[in-house]
């Protein structure tokens, strides 16, 4: 954790107040890929995903420590998003095994994972445009009686629960400083505000494990600080966080543990400081023609297999929905940052 007292931004100020409950947990953990953690919440073994002839993901073993902030980084096309989709049930591995809290979640449909305490966000922010911010939030609550078609017809069966859901939704809206937008359509929010809504909405499920897919992509620096604060607050509340990121500065600032992927494999693990010095990691990035240090948002990308597959998966998740690509102008800017110049 670096102290940047340079900004007077309120979000930064609050961010520093949060304690790190897992301070020191990783002291005795070896810095080798696939190493066992003292108390893993998520375990993946031999997870393989192929697209056509390309192997996008081939992870032998990785464990995610409970209560910590774990960053998943890697050069563009490393298969991070594909791996993320496999962990969250949005894609099925060709083979392999994933456990959440010691229970297998192989083949478990993505929507069931929320009930088991895992919730995810998306790289291309999925704010529900024609729902208000409040409705977006209320949607997140688990076990709503009124979500059953028959009970929905009889208001008294869900009225009181609705009131309490609304209360907690409003509390979260306030925590994320969106109170003035409560009754606005989410589609009118700025890109950064949508990221906030998406994160807050995920919290409505009261998750144990929060999976964030590039939460800081395409967000202005001030808001990035605010988002970091919220992520730290999640840890302070005892939740586990995994996030995909490409900006090393962000990673070293908040993560307790970093997992590095390249070409579909885990190539290194360790605390942020050790990763920056890790020769394998540096090679992986240098091999991809990055001239600067470990910032991965460059233009010049290597021509290796995983790239296509990663794109394909992102596209798939996108084409699934009822509002295809051209609509997401804001988010596409973020996407472009990852650089698609393969040829």
């Amino acid at each position: 954790m670096t102290d940047d007292g340079t900004t007077t931004d309120g979000a930064t100020a609050t961010a520093e107040e949060f304690e790190n409950p897992v301070e020191g947990v990783f002291d005795d953990v070896e810095r080798t890929p696939g190493v066992a953690k003292p108390d893993p919440i998520l375990v993946a073994e031999n997870v393989v995903r192929r697209f056509g002839g390309l192997t996008a993901v081939d992870v032998d073993k990785v464990q995610i420590q409970r209560g910590a902030i774990t960053a998943l980084i890697g050069p563009n096309g490393a298969g991070k998003t594909t791996f993320f989709n496999l962990l969250t049930g949005f894609d099925k591995p060709d083979s392999g095994h994933v456990e959440l809290n010691g229970k297998s979640i192989d083949g478990v449909a993505s929507h069931r994972l929320a009930a088991q305490g895992m919730v995810r966000t998306f790289q291309l922010t999925k704010a529900l445009s024609r729902l208000t911010v409040l409705e977006n939030m209320m949607l997140g609550a688990k076990d709503q009686a009124g979500e059953n078609i028959l009970k929905a017809l009889v208001s008294p069966l869900w009225r009181s629960q609705e009131t309490s859901v609304e209360e907690s939704a409003r509390a979260l809206i306030e925590r994320f400083k969106l109170t003035h937008m409560t009754d606005e359509y989410a589609g009118t929010l700025s890109g950064g505000q949508r990221k906030l809504v998406e994160m807050a909405r995920a919290l409505m499920t009261d998750p144990e494990l929060v999976m964030l897919d590039e939460p800081m992509a395409g967000v202005n620096p001030a808001l990035t600080q605010s988002l970091l604060g919220h992520v730290k607050q999640l840890r302070a509340e005892g939740r586990s966080v995994v996030f995909v990121e490409h900006d090393m500065d962000v990673v070293s600032d908040i993560s307790d543990w970093v997992v590095v992927m390249a070409e579909g494999r885990i190539i290194a693990e360790g605390p942020p400081a050790s990763i920056a010095e890790n020769q394998t990691v540096v090679d992986a990035y240098l091999g991809s023609h990055h001239d600067s240090e470990l910032t991965f948002d460059d233009d010049d990308q290597p021509d290796h297999g995983g790239d296509d597959a990663d794109e394909g998966a992102a596209e798939e998740a996108d084409s699934d929905d009822s509002e295809p690509e051209p609509s997401a102008a804001v988010d596409e800017a973020a996407d472009e940052e990852r650089g698609d110049d393969d040829e």
């Binding site: 697209f51 394909g312 051209p326």
Partner: protein, 395 residues
């Protein structure tokens, strides 16, 4: 009901095909007498009214006139007309019919699949491009270029009078390409640019399909018509299979055209660009491909191919809603083969053509198009990406 002899006084005679259809080309408008030879009716079937074995028919220019004979089946003769049994001959005949339909379908379907591949849009008005090609070819076949440029009318040959069907078909393809271009340029390009969602675009293609279809009906009329050339050909026998020469030629042309299309896709710059755009549009765009131009060319070639498919289908008859009638088959074809892939559309169309024709061995001919729906549902259940599609593109 097959093999019934019908005579048109002074014009010729014809026997009915498996569906009980027949046609006799006549020299021009006027009143004709059609006589049904009761001797040739299958056993157990007779004319409902023996006095009405001859009917007077008024035929207008360029129009098909349907003549119906009321028949009744005697005791025990029920459904004797369905043709029955699985004979090698029948299977061969149906397979060829299926391949024929499949080849024509493929030409109608490739454009749909390519447009989907490059733009993500399922064009529900694509069937109307098939009809459009048919109608335009009919129009040139009868009126020649004078139809477009009025003062040519007094001239003979290809200008004032009708033109040969082959030339007319080429003109029809040109018109098909033009229509494809016009639709993309006039309607869809603007929407892509202003980011109208694909869902909205799809609904718009539905509206477009209605407008086009009823404009066709408005100007073409509701009755089926026929091309001036090659109507009512006698089938020739090749081995166990009977086929009219025009269909044989059309099948050969289809195969050639499809091979050319495949070659163009595989080996030319534009073909590669099309596949690149279909594969990953952003990637293609950033590597310097002019995506809008590629999409334009996809629409043009899709429209032209659909038009040619329409002409070949139109060798049987031409109708204002023909395309819409085969829409189900087109969709079954592209889905079966894998939406978005050109080769998939080809393979899918051939499979659909053969399967639905062979299915008539077991089920009533009237229901054969429903088999295509069954194929569609089954493929979506078990392999939604289609035979040739890639798993990750389907969702």
């Amino acid at each position: 009901m097959e093999g019934v002899l019908l005579t048109v006084d002074g014009e010729g005679e014809s026997t009915t095909d498996a569906d009980g259809n027949w046609s006799v080309p006549v020299s021009g408008p006027g009143t004709y007498t059609v006589t049904l030879d009761a001797e040739t009716l299958p056993e157990g079937v007779s004319l409902a009214d023996a006095d009405r074995a001859s009917l007077e028919v008024l035929v207008e220019a360029g129009q098909a006139k349907t003549t119906l004979f009321a028949l009744s089946s005697g005791a025990g003769g029920d459904d004797a007309d369905d043709g029955s049994g699985i004979t090698g001959r029948r299977v061969a005949q149906l397979t060829v019919e299926g391949l024929k339909q499949g080849l024509y379908l493929a030409m109608a379907a490739i454009g749909l699949s390519l447009i989907f591949g490059t733009t993500g849009l399922v064009n529900f008005a694509h069937a109307e491009l098939v009809t459009w090609g048919q109608l335009m070819t009919f129009f040139f076949n009868y009126y020649g270029l004078a139809g477009l440029i009025g003062f040519l009318a007094p001239l003979p040959g290809p200008f004032g009078d009708g033109v040969n069907l082959i030339f007319a078909a080429l003109l029809g393809m040109v018109m098909g390409g033009l229509m494809g271009y016009a639709l993309d340029r006039g309607i869809f390009r603007g929407m892509r640019r202003s980011g109208v969602s694909l869902i909205a675009q799809m609904v718009i293609t539905i509206g477009l399909s209605i407008v086009m279809r009823y404009v066709f009906l408005y100007f073409f009329g509701g009755n089926p018509r026929f091309f001036r050339d090659f109507a009512g050909q006698q089938a020739i026998s090749i081995g166990p299979v009977e086929i009219t020469p025009k269909d044989l030629v059309a099948m050969i042309i289809s195969i050639i055209v499809l091979i050319i299309v495949g070659g163009l896709l595989q080996f030319t710059r534009m073909g590669k660009a099309m596949r690149a755009v279909a594969d990953n549009r952003d990637l293609a765009e950033s590597s310097g491909i002019d995506v809008q131009r590629v999409i334009s060319i996809v629409w043009i070639s899709g429209g032209a191919l659909a038009a040619l498919g329409g002409v070949f289908f139109g060798l049987d008859q031409i109708k204002w809603d023909f395309g819409f009638r085969i829409l189900l088959l087109i969709f079954a074809s592209v889905t079966l083969g894998g939406l978005g892939t050109a080769y998939g559309a080809l393979v899918g169309a051939l499979v659909v053509g053969v399967v639905i024709n062979l299915s008539t061995i077991f089920i009533d001919v009237e229901l054969k198009n429903m088999v295509a729906l069954l194929v569609l549902v089954l493929i979506l259940l078990f392999r939604p990406q289609g035979i040739l599609g890639r798993a990750e593109r389907v969702g």
